[in-house]
Symmetry: C2
Subunit: 496 residues, 2 copies
């Protein structure tokens, strides 16, 4: 019997318990390996990793310390009596082994795995194993099964609405922040759009990162419903919504191991939309040789998969294939992307045209989900809403309701990358630009990133600035510069 | 700038740093995800996971706390000034992605990955990703590359010896504790055998677990050399030897995720033997339908792989295929296996014959590594050493030199499993017996396990005891019993 103590450490999704090395109830000396244990005493036993403490101010020999995650899950008061047993490897791990051996998993296996993830029987290591094992191939049926398992049984309901829309992009194109503009236009039009956004997994900035430069994105379910009811739109980080908990745990591991397959991303996107009660979903599939989806064939395959899963789960899906051959807009990184978005919404002269046109096209497709809109009219309605300033007005209301963010600073460590010869920009490598931006610190510091002055097709003179890199932290700046020196991501052809 | 503080927490292989939530040097509020950072200030930056603390008695807002692992790696005094940057995903992760996509990795890629593991740039999650990605298939060349990378550049040297022998089993057969008997016989014969043993990965008891019932197995390199010099043999847990560090980190993750492929196990075994300066190695490959290696074809493939890798790395390898159709001996679990071993060495009436015969066969093969021994004579020499008591004498010297372990208790929670009908034991399922033993707590409590009273071919009457299960912990006992009730692992045929 040990007495429960709260240890105020936040370990981000991992349950950890602390035993003193002189604990007399359990032989701690023998522990030489990572050890997963079960704690008994609450309504359900919980799993946690064991760490050994040599400092009585953290835990006494008769106490069991628990970090924030474990303490919250066990849900007992400090001082409660608890006992320990060794946690066995979860039985669903057998499915992961079957997958490694090349098998197709049954729907029930995905359900069991996701159940183990949600109940925290899986550590981050176990989640990584699952993601890598299913990373080599998944059948369409498997992606459907994973989507259903991730969506869970509960979802937000929108009693007064007949259509609830949302939009998501498959990623891979730096600077592609159409979501915020689309949300503004669609909300101004009047369709309810509870836009669930994610933090970056492998990119420089997720929509949640970019929008958090402008507003608070950490809303709970009640706030989300209220703001969408009042203003027809909101942009929230889905990780604060308990109904998308499994996705949060998985994305945290994806980010850490730096891997997110198309199938996993698609399953997660659709699951989150189902959980938030979306009825009509637009999926943007950008294709480009240096993007996530490299060929039109791959994009078509993904579109068909998306459509099939939507049909099976009773979600109206429109999947559109777009140009992902180069970055969209000029900014790459949260602050710079937010700047581009506001330039478009303010109808500024220097607003990036490609970002504006793509946003109008996609917003138009969403507006056409409204049965009252005649096919082909969506774009024109979207354009009228944007140019009239109504989209800006709608977004300002949403920002105000969510809570305006304090002014963010652009990173002060800068370098201008110039053309080594005169000619025409032949190509810009998306994945290289992403790599440089990530190294510059964009995933950590909102003010870090790249500001692209030239795009594909632009004529350049030798010495013209191609882009400016911004960092907040000098270590990051050094890494970005050394990456730029080996390959700056731009191809200049001599012909004009 | 933060001031370094040691936080006396042992997190088993994972570097962790602690920042106070009100830290003013870094914006801690924004951190919502698992975050890997780099700590600068020492000779080399080190990677660590960031955890957030709300208790000033653990760290102050101007301190950076470090757990045992991180503090030891950074190797700076408390109070030293350190700075942080975001850690980027390691470049060798690109190789893991290539492997997931079905590629064969180059030797240099295995080298880079193992280098990242050893320098702790890989978290346990990253190691799990690597293991699962390479778990679906590896070419012989890849296994060789992994073996070389794991072996590293340094190894123990045995200046006075021309032959240094060792033995290892590919596992999968419960109770198979030939190693200790072999070491005793070979040491008594006079060949130097620095037996490196492992803790269990997925089994009920590794040789290191079983021998730790008898003696201290946590020797350092100096002690190992001295004891082998003095007594010709020693049995050590390899995880204490710095030269096998990469293997330790990997095995810890294998144990936690419950997966260890044949290729990974083989690479690790050979790497450890190379690091400990072994020149002649006997590998035991047990084959059985419920063992790790299920068919003779698989065993032959593994033998050829073993021979090839041995040849390429200048290690003399003898790989023998043995019968792995049922458990060896009677005991399964550390205390019970140690009992069987001592019964054999003491030439007791109740010594398990299969364990004795298999140990003699294998010890004989090792003795034949000695050029002075005529082919086919090894077995007879081994038998004479065993029956004369010289093997027991040699082991007692080794135990005394390593440090005799305190008497271990057999688990007091017991249940006898009886035959439901009369007949003959048709089969005993190795993996089921392992599963029951693991549930009974054998990986955690030395006294837990199974004591098998009947083996394949034995006649039984209805009600005869097939085996007795032992647990130390009541939760474990309950799990084991429920597993036994659904399938006790024994098949009884009606015919006599």
């Amino acid at each position: 019997m040990l007495s429960l103590k709260y240890v105020a450490i936040n370990s981000f999704n991992e349950n950890i318990v602390y035993l003193h090395k002189d604990c007399d109830a359990y032989r701690v000396d023998d522990i030489k390996h990572i050890t997963k244990i079960e704690v008994h005493g609450g309504a359900e036993p919980i799993s946690a990793f064991l760490e050994i403490v040599e400092d009585e101010s953290i835990v006494h020999p008769r106490q069991l310390g628990m970090n924030k995650q474990a303490f919250e899950q066990l849900n007992l008061p400090e001082g409660a009596n608890v006992t320990l047993s060794l946690a066995n490897v979860s039985s669903s791990v057998a499915s992961i082994k079957r997958k490694i051996s090349g098998n197709v998993l049954y729907d029930s296996e995905y359900k069991a795995i996701i159940k183990d993830i949600v109940s925290k029987k899986y550590s981050n290591m176990d989640i990584a194993s699952f993601l890598v094992a299913t990373g080599s191939f998944m059948t369409v049926q498997e992606v459907l099964a994973l989507t259903e398992a991730l969506a869970g049984d509960e979802n937000i309901t929108w009693d007064k609405e007949t259509i609830v829309v949302d939009h998501h992009c498959m990623g891979g194109v730096p600077g592609n922040k159409t979501d915020i503009i689309i949300t503004a236009i669609v909300a101004a039009y009047g369709l309810p759009i509870p836009k669930t956004a994610s933090r970056s997994l492998t990119s420089c900035s997720g929509t949640a990162d970019t929008f958090s430069v402008l507003a608070n994105v950490d809303l709970d379910e009640k706030m989300l419903k209220k703001i969408v009811n009042d203003h027809r739109g909101a942009i929230v980080s889905y990780i604060n919504l308990p109904i998308t908990y499994a996705n949060k745990l998985i994305s945290s591991v994806q980010r850490s191991i730096g891997m997110a397959t198309k199938e996993h991303v698609l399953a997660s996107i659709i699951a989150i939309k189902l959980a938030t009660g979306v009825s009509h979903l637009l999926i943007d599939i950008p294709v480009g040789s240096s993007s996530n989806i490299k060929t039109t064939n791959d994009a078509l395959k993904l579109r068909k998969m998306t459509e099939y899963i939507g049909d099976m789960l009773n979600l109206h899906v429109d999947a559109v294939i777009t140009d992902g051959s180069e970055p969209i807009g000029n900014g790459v990184g949260p602050v710079l992307e937010a700047r581009d978005v506001m330039r478009v919404l303010r109808n500024k002269e220097n607003a990036p045209r490609d970002l504006m046109e793509k946003s109008l096209f996609l917003a138009g497709r969403i507006i056409e989900f409204d049965p009252k809109v005649r096919g082909g009219q969506g774009y024109h309605i979207a354009k009228e809403i944007l140019t009239s300033g109504r989209a800006l007005e709608a977004l300002n209301k949403i920002i105000y309701a969510q809570g305006k963010a304090p002014q963010a600073q652009l990173g002060r460590l800068t370098r201008e990358i110039t053309a080594q010869k005169s000619g025409v920009v032949e190509s810009i490598d998306n994945s290289r630009i992403t790599r440089i931006g990530v190294l510059a610190g964009a995933q950590q510091s909102a003010g870090a990133g790249l500001d692209l002055m030239k795009k594909v097709g632009d004529e350049v003179e030798r010495g013209d600035v191609l882009y400016r890199v911004h960092s907040v932290n000098s270590n990051d700046f050094a890494f970005a510069n050394s990456a730029i020196d080996s390959d700056n991501g731009y191809e200049i052809s001599s012909k004009k």
